[in-house]
Structures are given as C-alpha cells and as structure tokens.
Symmetry: C2
Subunit: 359 residues, 2 copies
C-alpha cells in the first residue's frame, strides 16, 4: 500500500503533513509519518538529549558517573488506547504489558520492572478493570517482570474511552550488548519471527468492521524470552525491532533511515496467513502496514542467519520465522520489495492513519 | 472537613465504598479513600509484590543479584488529566514533570530520567501541544532530569479531554538512604515546607468556578533540590511525602497507617495564605484536603527539626516552612488536629471527590 504515491521519502521534497495541519488529526496517532513528524517537530525539538536523539523505541540511558550503577538502563513508555478493550487473542492489559516488555527487549536488555498509569472513564464496570488487571499480572508473570508502581485517575463520562493504560518498562542492558536501529550493515540478513498483520486484522474483526466472520487471533505476546534465546545463539545481532503501529513497512523505513542503508525484501518469503491475506485484500489493506504485537524483526550478519532461524523455529513464538530480505549499501535509504511477479517497488513509511486505535 | 462523619477509619468497621459501586464513579479518582480502596481491591490484589506492597508513591526496586547494578532504583508513575490545561502558576506539562520528579524525590532518591506518554484528542491545536512541551522541558531542566522516552497516541474527538500525559520517573537511591512512609517514629516532628491548598484553589479559579476574582497561583514546583539540601543538613529524615491529591489530611493518614502511629497537628502552626483560607471558607472546602503540587511533608527526629527548618527557610521553596505537629505512639493510628479554639478533632482520609481533575 502506498497512500501517497507522489510523496518521496526524501526529507527535503516531502511535504511535511504537520505543516498542513493546525489541529491534531487522527493520523497524528498512526505511528507512521505524521506521528514521526509530530514527534520531531513538537517533542523531539524540545526534549533533545543524546538518549532521545537515537530514535529507538527504548532509551538507553547513560548513568551519571558518580552513581554506583554500571551498565545501562533500557527505558520505554507506551500509551495504550485500544478499542475494543477485549479482542480475539488478547485485551488492553495484555497488550500494555507485552508492548512495553517488547520495547525494552528490543534494546537487547532484560526487562525487569513495569509501571502502569490508568485513566478510567467514569462508569466503567469495576469487573472490567479487574479482568484487565488479572490479564496484566498474567502477562507480567509470563515475561518475568514485576509491576512496581501504578497510578489511577478517573475522568468524567464522555472524557475518555472506557480505559487508557500508559506503561513504562525499565530493564538492564549488559555492558557488552550494542543493539539498535542505527546498527544495520550492508550484507546483513533481515528476519521476521512470524506472520504479519494478525493483530490489526483481529482487532478490526472485534470491532465488527469486517463484513465476514474470521477466526484470526491477535499475536500479542511477550518476546523477551525468545529474543534472549536468539541473542545467546547468535551474539552479533545488530537490530531488533517490533513492527507494531505502522507495520513492517514503517519499521524497516525507520531502520533504513537510522542506519543510512537500503533494505531489499523478497515478497515470496514474507509470511502472511492465507486468512489474513484474504481479509487484507477484501479491505484494501497492505499487510506490510498493519500492526503486529508479537513479532520481531532481527537484523544480523548473513553468516548467523541460519543459526537465528533454527533458534526461532524451536520456540512457539518463532515457528513461522523467515528470512525476508537483506541490507544493502545505497544512498537512497529505501525499503524495496521484490514482488512475486518479478517487479520491484518502493515501500514508503505509512503516511497517515490506516487502522485507528489498534494499540 | 469530614465528608463521612459516621465512618470510622478503622478498616473493619468502614463500609468500603467499592462494595457499593459496580461502576467507576468520579470519586474513584479522588486520591482519597475510594481511590485507595479501588487500588487495593483491583490492582494491589493482582500486582502483589514486595515493592508495591510498601504503598509508597515510589517503587524502591531490589535489583536481581546477578546484575551489576548496586543501590536501588526509585520508580514512580502518574497520569495527568488536569482541566484546564493552563492555570495560574502552571500548566499540565509543568505539573506532569514536577509531579513525577517529586514522587521520585520522596524516596530520598535522585531523579534522573523521565518518560512521557501523551494521549491527545483529535482537534487539539498543535500550538497548545508545543506550549506544553516547552513547559515540560523547562521544568525538566529546573529539576536536572532528562526526558528520555516518549509515546504519542491520538484518539477521536470526544474520546479524551484535550490532552492527558502519563509520566514515569526513574531515580537512584544511594545505598545509605532509608526513607519511606513506614518509618515515622513516636517523638518525630512533622514539618510542612510551605502553605497549603494553593494549587487546588488556583485550578478552581482557572475553571471560573469561583464567583469572585483571585490572584492565587498554583504552587507547582520541583522539590528535589530543596529536599537534597534538607537531607544534607539533617541526615536522619524518616518520611518525605508530597501532599497532592487528597491534601495534607489524606497524606498524613496514609503515613499513620503505614507507620502504625498517630499524628497530632497544631492548627495554629499550619500555614495557609489568608486569600486561600478565605476562598476555602466561601466554598466550604477544608484546606487540609485540597491538593498541593510544590509542598513536602518532612518527618524526622525532633532534635533535627530546627536544622531542617533553618535549611528550608533559606530556600525560595521553603520560606513558609513550619513545624505543624508530632508523631505519637497510639493504637488508633489517627491524625488528630488541636484546633485554634482548644478542641481536638480527628482528621480522616478524604473519602470521595472534592475537586475533580486538579492533577
């Protein structure tokens, strides 16, 4: 899917969407280009510091020299606004914990602690809140993290949509680990841990926005343990990234920009379930832009890709893992797709909102 | 103010508000008894772990033995939903940073890093968001903390109230520091760093809910530097607590419960500005329950109280600091107020909502 075929991704020629909007529109929360632009212009320009400037989903903090802390902290935060609160395969609580655990794990760090701040709309059944809390605790146990701090606020009816949960994850990055979106190298292999677009389509189905029935389940899962196995088996991983909002297409564009490389994908090796592909075709969605909540992109030296795939295939969360492409040296910093019919097309960053409120 | 004069604070005889509500009501976000009850029954019962069980506003985490981290992390989170976004003396951005910096500082720790997750209502002017971001950065610089991670989500118009910001603070607690609500001892002095209720009344005025004009400004401020001065001057501080939602009355009740002591206050020594007192009287509010955002309760051995007061008086944020009471051994774990007219009354925990959406 290319929503803005006339827009080059080159920064200077790209008409920045923010400049055409004085007010926030739904697309600003898409996780795609408009979100990037908003973050860059509004927040990044204010909160500038070496940690934020790396543009990863996690903060790898440098601790003050005079403290007794060694190594690095990995810190990540996420606001969860998904509607509906419960969907096939998960709920907002599982999503909140897994999403934040995964963001911390993408640093190569070990997630340890989670905080959760709840904004609750007046009138929410307390039983609903209890179901969400139970799900959060189960997911935290699955990931072996502790929920160590929380806050609860209530707003008047009509001033929120049932329940929002903001989570922050804090983990520890061993001193020898150097993983980030800026480390992709020409010659590296690009691996995805499983099939694409399950989460987005499952949430859409739960909203009743499909005109057909489906058994598609969200893939929401905590990835820290399978990632740890991969890091143990293949010590030279360069990039880990979970393709959530904006999908694989947006995540790979971010990495191409961060590392100043291009990425070439083989469409035939990108795993997508037949049912998900059919739903996407009927709805006019490109699965490359649909959110995933239990998948990880792994970029590492080609020589280690078989070992990584073998490790992934031995884990329930990686049985459908596939090598989908490779990193090349190229001044355009594009993501290119070699299609099934033999052509090549540029995969741009998602520029607006496709599926609102799915994470 | 005693909103439920017939309700004893004793746990067993107290009709728990949660049991009478199947749905969330505004009082569940008050920071008072209903919030406590909700947190206890819904979250605390699920997320049980030694760190959360201490019931402080910060998490003092025990790090895994095999990591190289020494000392403790102090972690705190807060959702900010204040309406209006701008008010005399501050705005939601300043409040979000200061509130979280202060919560971390209450552990005796040094705040280092802040994360911020934004939930934005479609239609919010981007200039508004920029003003908030600028204010956040200024406040972070004032407190010498870095905003290291962020997230931005947008919800449809009518699904949020302009802007919510959830912040998490991470700090470092030196190994020799042991401060918490559970450490108040009989014989300790109770100090407040300045006048009460400024924030709550200023926000009410900004909403146009006062029928008279006022120049009262919110006291929102970062307290970590003045606290550091106090800790340097008086090494045996037992408790630090910022009396925000629920006010001084609620905070002291929390401490009395945590430390299993009673606290006796002298009304004549509690600093309240004449204008604030007048506004409270006209509106029927008890200033002991109105939120503060730049004040700290300090509980420490009586022998160190003069030194603490001298240190506070030398700082702009502590010029009106006052010793307001003392800690006594008593099985009822009450907060008692010796009134100006010579009586004594029990100050209960705030049981419902008095001023919605002020933090």
């Amino acid at each position: 899917m290319n929503e803005n075929p006339s827009v080059s991704f080159n920064g200077s020629s790209c008409p920045l969407p923010l400049k055409h909007n004085k007010n926030i529109v739904i697309g600003h929360g898409s996780g795609g280009l408009m979100t990037h632009d908003l973050i860059q212009e509004v927040f990044q320009s204010q909160f500038r510091n070496p940690t934020l400037d790396t543009l990863n989903d996690f903060a790898k903090t440098v601790l003050p020299a005079k403290s007794f802390l060694k190594g690095h902290l990995s810190i990540s935060t996420d606001a969860h606004i998904i509607s509906p609160l419960f969907f096939p395969g998960g709920d907002i609580g599982r999503l909140a914990i897994a999403g934040t655990v995964n963001d911390v794990a993408m640093s190569g760090g070990i997630p340890l602690f989670i905080t959760a701040a709840f904004i609750i709309e007046e009138g929410l059944p307390i039983d609903t809140l209890k179901r969400v809390a139970i799900s959060m605790q189960q997911t935290a146990e699955e990931a072996e993290v502790q929920i160590v701090a929380g806050d609860t606020k209530v707003v008047e009816k009509g001033k929120a949509d049932k329940l929002f949960i903001s989570t922050t994850g804090i983990g520890w990055i061993p001193q020898d680990v150097n993983i980030g979106g800026e480390f992709a190298c020409p010659g590296d292999a690009v691996i995805i841990s499983g099939s694409l677009a399950d989460h987005g389509i499952a949430v859409l189905a739960a909203r009743g926005q499909l005109n057909f029935s489906t058994t598609i389940q969200s893939d929401v899962a905590t990835l820290n343990r399978v990632i740890r196995k991969v890091l143990k088996a293949t010590p030279n991983v360069h990039v880990l990234r979970d393709p959530t909002r904006g999908g694989l297409g947006t995540s790979l564009n971010e990495i191409a920009q961060q590392s100043q490389v291009s990425i070439v994908l083989d469409e035939e090796h990108i795993p997508i379930k037949a049912e998900v592909r059919a739903a996407c075709e009927l709805l006019g969605f490109d699965p490359l832009y649909v959110a995933n909540e239990g998948k990880v992109i792994i970029i590492l030296p080609e020589s280690e890709s078989k070992q990584a795939l073998d490790t992934l295939h031995s884990d329930p969360l990686g049985v459908s893992a596939s090598k989908i492409g490779s990193v090349i040296s190229d001044p355009h910093h594009h993501v290119l797709l070699k299609t099934l019919i033999g052509g090549t097309r540029i995969i741009e960053m998602l520029s607006g909102e496709m599926l609102p409120r799915i994470c």
